[in-house]
């Protein structure tokens, strides 16, 4: 099963000691998860302040600077994990040093995620985050959105713009992992409760400009109803 592992930074990035501990332990974590065939790919995100939030109202694209939810908590990066069960995903998340100081949210993907064999972090430039609010539209509208979203994904993949994309299971299937005093603490649900929640992601390739990424987000069918957020991955 594939899981999206969200690196959740809670408020301040933490003390120098915490930063040092994270720097020291992230290497072994990457080594272990890669050698076990669990971590497929992952990358750190740029500062949330650089995000663009995209909405489409009455055919007009509205772009605001910054993330859609102005919370202290933010997503600092992500990994895609292949695990045999949630237990394995939790075990891996609890070994990730971010969970010792902040939190990690695990979200199962809704359907089989196609990952290109030769995907490298260099191919990842922008993250497009699709938000919904869980209030169902009419069945007709909903069906239309799903149909349009599939076509959007298909086209984006064909043009080579999107390297990876998929829907997530509903937010009540999320598990948030924190490790405190050596104890693994689990929370049922996402790490931050907002009205609109992450329902899917698309990762755009290395050659995409910010303008192209924003245009892309605006063409995603949910942009007419909910925010779509564009975040840049950090250059490595």
């Amino acid at each position: 099963m594939k899981y999206l592992q969200l690196i959740c930074i809670e408020g301040e990035t933490g003390t120098p000691a915490a930063a040092a501990a994270m720097n020291e332990h992230i290497g072994p974590w990457l080594q272990e998860t890669q050698s076990r065939g669990i971590r497929i790919v992952g990358k750190q995100l740029d500062e949330p302040a650089g995000a663009k939030t995209v909405r489409v109202r009455d055919g007009e694209t509205l772009i605001t600077d910054g993330p859609y939810a102005a919370t202290k908590e933010y997503i600092g990066g992500l990994d895609i994990l292949e695990c045999e069960s949630l237990d394995e995903a939790i075990e891996v998340a609890a070994k990730h040093p971010v969970s010792w100081f902040h939190a990690i949210e695990l979200r199962p993907f809704a359907s089989e995620l196609e990952v290109p064999d030769d995907l490298s972090p260099d191919d990842m430039r922008y993250l497009v985050q699709i938000f919904v609010d869980g209030i169902p539209e009419t069945p007709e509208v909903e069906e239309g959105i799903v149909r349009d979203a599939e076509a959007w994904g298909e086209q984006a993949r064909e043009r080579g713009v999107m390297v990876l994309g998929g829907g997530l299971q509903p937010k009540h299937t999320a598990t948030t992992v924190r490790v405190r005093d050596g104890e693994v603490l689990l929370t049922d649900g996402p790490f931050v409760e907002t009205k609109e929640y992450l329902a899917g992601i698309a990762i755009l390739n290395g050659g995409v400009t910010e303008q192209a990424a924003v245009e892309f987000a605006a063409r995603f069918p949910t942009a007419r109803y909910h925010p779509v957020e564009v975040r840049r991955f950090i250059d490595q």
Partner: protein
């Protein structure tokens, strides 16, 4: 035993077993519950006329398996599932053959179900609800009444928990050995919470709440018999053995010292005694063992307060809490050192955590009275009265006030 009584007994003994094995075979929680429900409905309809089968469990398992297969055949993804089931004993049972799985595999099913219902990635309230639904067979309406929430809320909670198990990949299994101690601890916590919900019984539907105690005890018996689990079982059995003495004929709460001991279930106390004497040395005992050791000493006369005070000191070292400290203070006082006990209670009165807890003030009043400090005792009683949350508790305190 009449036929309806036999169905009731079978429901108690077999529900969890049947649901657990159907979940393993089909991976579908709703299907498993519905098929099990239909099997019991059919038993109710046919046992009075046909007689109770020689092996009710096997009969119900076969019928539930058939019902599950019927539903699968009617469903869209039926063919695929039936192929998967072709090699499975469920299929054999449906063809009228004997269910020849070894009993151990079936026991394991129930353990799988307990560990899955109590998975820590589910919210605690969902773990409790799911355990009652899937293992104990309580209906959604009954669970909702027990926890004083609307039925729709409880239904949603159960649906979401089951959806998470399926969608998030929570495995249906007994955890591997390295995870077992921690996960068993989690299961014990859910069972004790379940028990205490029933035991508190200050509100809600009384018969349903009493059945929560029965279910918690029954489920604890299913867990592997390790010392801390046996201790939890002993603790619950002991507390439950006083159920008929805790409340008097007018429905008023009766304290331990005032209880009519002839109403205690002595056979249950004897069982707890046996469980505890087989639990090994006290050194390194866990919190349930210490609580059970305290509880069993409360059943003996005269009460060994010095020993109880010592056990509370150990419990406080292991899991410190103001309530444990309060109980320890009482034991210290009744062991003969009234001043030391009152001093500990006094510290709690000025602390923040328990200062508004009515029983803290009632306890202080009681100890003050024993010391002959009658004016201060009365003040403390009045404070307790003002803080008591329910009318039953106020009546209880008022009775004590009158006695003094």
């Amino acid at each position: 035993m009449t036929a309806p009584e036999a169905v009731q007994a079978a429901f108690r003994d077999e529900w969890g077993r049947i649901v657990a094995s159907l979940i393993r075979r089909t991976g579908d929680w709703d299907l498993a519950e519905e098929a099990a429900q239909e099997a019991f409905a059919q038993a109710l309809a046919s046992w009075p006329g046909d007689g109770v089968p020689r092996n009710p469990g096997a009969w119900l398992t076969t019928v539930a398996g058939n019902r599950a297969l019927d539903r699968i055949r009617r469903s869209a993804r039926g063919n695929e599932l039936i192929r998967q089931l072709a090699e499975d004993p469920l299929h054999a049972a449906a063809d009228g053959q004997q269910d020849d799985e070894p009993p151990q595999a079936i026991e394991d099913d129930r353990l799988r179900l307990i560990f899955t219902c109590c998975h820590p990635a589910l919210a605690l309230e969902s773990r409790v609800a799911l355990t009652l639904r899937a293992l104990a067979g309580l209906t959604t309406a009954e669970i909702a009444r027990a926890f004083l929430v609307p039925e729709a809320t409880m239904a949603k909670r159960l649906t979401r928990a089951k959806a998470k198990i399926a969608a998030a990949g929570i495995p249906y299994r007994v955890p591997p050995p390295e995870r077992l101690p921690e996960r068993t601890n989690g299961v014990r916590a859910v069972l004790y919470l379940l028990f205490n919900e029933g035991y508190a019984a200050s509100s809600g539907d009384l018969p349903i709440r009493a059945s929560l105690c029965d279910e918690a005890i029954r489920l604890a018996r299913l867990l592997p018999a390790e010392p801390e689990t046996q201790a939890l079982l002993a603790l619950m059995v002991l507390q439950h053995s006083r159920r008929d003495a805790r409340v008097d004929d007018r429905g008023e709460l009766v304290t331990l010292e005032d209880q009519d001991r002839s109403r205690w279930h002595l056979d249950e106390i004897a069982e707890a005694d046996t469980l505890l004497s087989g639990a090994g040395p006290l050194a390194g005992a866990g919190p349930y063992r210490l609580q059970a050791e305290i509880a069993i000493r409360h059943t003996r006369e005269p009460t060994d307060w010095p020993c109880i005070a010592e056990l509370y000191a150990e419990l406080e070292a292991l899991s410190p809490s103001p309530v444990v400290r309060l109980n320890r203070a009482v034991a210290v006082a009744l062991a003969g050192d009234l001043d030391a006990g009152l001093e500990m209670v006094g510290e709690l009165v000025v602390g923040d955590e328990l200062s508004n807890y009515h029983l803290l003030h009632a306890t202080r009043a009681d100890l003050l009275r024993r010391r002959g400090d009658l004016v201060a005792a009365r003040e403390a009683y009045e404070r307790a009265l003002a803080l008591a949350p329910t009318e039953a508790e106020r009546r209880f305190l008022r009775r004590r006030l009158v006695v003094e």
